[in-house]
Symmetry: C2
Subunit: 142 residues, 2 copies
DNA sequence: GTAGGCGTTGACGTCGGCGTCAAGGCAAGG
DNA sequence: CCTTGCCTTGACGCCGACGTCAACGCCTAC
């Protein structure tokens, strides 16, 4: 199988495969014409890389998985180094999610505050007598 | 106030202020020496930018807030355009947090699965008689 | 012969938000 | 006079994961 076919089979581009090779992640054999040649094993390696990439793993973080497969293990995560990457990623994700949730809360609060301020200004404009600055003790209507 | 002092007062760098100016976000007056000159209003604008940046807003997304302040409003989020940015950001954050939680769940599941597979292999190695493939009906000990 | 379709290497572009020089100006202080 | 310290503009570097273009080679089909 040549580079175009492999790329098509995993839904990526030839440029990407050449890039992986330049990073030493997915080296290729060459045929008589100097064309890159891949087999079914490379397909497995590439699928592993792409799956992790889809999860947001850095390319370097996929390396232990690829080496694990290349070492003959049935799964890319059958090796301690891969598990370590999993755990590190989980920590990163937890930290990031926590930060984002904090930011979300802050921005949400800002929006509520700003909308309330806007509505109060609008209400003031509708009442020519001016806004009621505070609510005195006892009933305030009539 | 010149650029170095302003930068120090908000805890950023002169390079950053010049970058903001190049983006048209924070233009500066010039003194007789051609040095950039800022006043307290610029300090307010800059603090608004930095606050939003810390929340993860793109520089372009801070522009409505800055223009709102420059238009004389008391707060950067006193204008509809700013509120729209808030809402868009909340949607983005919700989407992103959701994606990250989904990824977290997937990676967590992978880790559990891989660890279990590893432990089973280890247990097999400890039992020379070989692993018990399945649990037949009835008690299985003694 | 030639056009199409595959492959090759090399090199520059992209995105955002700056960091980091390089080379120079101008003013105050010793 | 010279140093120190602030400022100026201009330009390249960085990060990751490729996209895109250029110029070329080889094989096959018409």
């Amino acid at each position: 199988m040549r580079i175009g076919e492999l790329a098509a089979r995993v839904g990526t581009t030839t440029r990407t495969l050449r890039y992986y090779e330049s990073r030493g992640l997915l080296p290729a054999r060459r045929d008589a014409q100097g064309h890159r040649t891949y087999d079914e094993r490379d397909l497995t390696l590439l699928r592993q890389i792409r799956t992790l990439q889809d999860f947001g793993f850095d390319l370097e973080e996929t390396r232990p998985f690829v080496e694990c497969l290349r070492a003959g293990h049935p799964e890319g995560d059958s090796c301690p180094a891969s598990l370590a990457v999993y755990r590190r990623k989980l920590d990163e994700l937890d930290a990031l999610i926590g930060e984002l949730q904090a930011v979300r809360a802050q921005v949400g609060a800002q929006l509520v505050r700003a909308e309330r301020a806007r509505d109060e200004l609008a209400a003031d404009a509708l009442v020519p007598g001016g806004p009621e600055p505070a609510c005195e003790l006892g009933g305030h209507e009539r």
